[in-house]
């Protein structure tokens, strides 16, 4: 029987992965749109490396990533229940994150009059979009890693 990862270990890697995602998006966005590009480039790539490392460690090696991306025809009834629950939670969290980003953007446009700045730097927004795509794919896996008593997905 495979050794199970402790809850603390799992929590650390999930939080670390999300923190690295935030740092990667922030750094690479400012690399693209900021004035002092080189300042953010190095931390951006370091964060990206750490993001990929933690992703392999907690999602790939445990088999959770392939599980949440498996077709439902290849799942049995217990696995379908686990997948449904994780997708339901991930959907709620993702909706809150996206709506918060929209509200923050609207507030920054209204309060700081940043509309022109955003319009002139749309290339930076693509980094945010890439980050959101990763978040949408990794959230169901994160929910499973944090909530399931055992990680038997290989």
């Amino acid at each position: 029987m495979e050794k199970q990862l402790s809850k603390g270990y799992r929590f650390f890697y999930v939080v670390f992965n999300l923190a690295m995602l935030g740092l990667t998006v922030f750094s690479l966005m400012w690399t693209v749109i900021g004035e002092n590009r080189i300042l953010f480039l190095f931390p951006g790539f370091v964060a990206l490396g750490l993001l990929l490392w933690s992703m392999i460690k907690i999602y790939f090696k445990t088999g959770v990533w392939s599980f949440v991306h498996r077709k439902s025809e290849h799942m049995d009834e217990r696995e379908l229940t686990v997948a449904r629950k994780s997708l339901q939670k991930a959907y709620s969290i993702f909706a809150v994150v996206v709506l918060s980003l929209i509200v923050l953007s609207l507030l920054s446009i209204t309060i700081f009059d940043s509309g022109t700045f955003i319009a002139e730097n749309t290339s930076g927004l693509w980094i945010v979009v890439a980050g959101l795509i990763y978040l949408a794919h990794s959230l169901p896996a994160a929910v499973i890693v944090l909530q399931e008593s055992r990680l038997d997905f290989k």
């Binding site: 049995d76 009834e77 217990r78 696995e79 008593s149 038997d152 997905f153």
Partner: protein
């Protein structure tokens, strides 16, 4: 609504037949991890799966699953035997 815990004898029956979790999983059409969850009583099977399991072991469903903690089959047989002997001596 919280589901009741369903107890079962899958582990004992499987070991008795000398088959692996993977083999049983293949026969009843689930992934082998699910057999582990069933044996540890961490997952309540659907009615369809419960029937597939009991049909595989060729036993009535109430011999495999129960809502109360289950005695081992040997214990039940021994109790039956004791009762029988008790009645004959009377």
């Amino acid at each position: 609504m919280k589901n009741r815990k369903i107890y079962n004898r899958i582990s004992i029956l499987r070991k008795g037949r000398g088959i692996s979790r993977k083999e049983l999983a293949r026969k009843i059409g689930v992934n082998f991890q699910t057999v582990g969850y069933l044996e540890r009583e961490e997952y309540n099977p659907s009615l369809d799966l419960a029937f597939r399991i009991s049909e595989f072991f060729n036993l009535p469903i109430d011999m495999v699953f129960s809502t109360k903690p289950m005695k081992s089959i040997e214990k039940i047989l021994m109790e039956k035997e004791t009762n029988k002997n008790g009645k004959t001596t009377e």
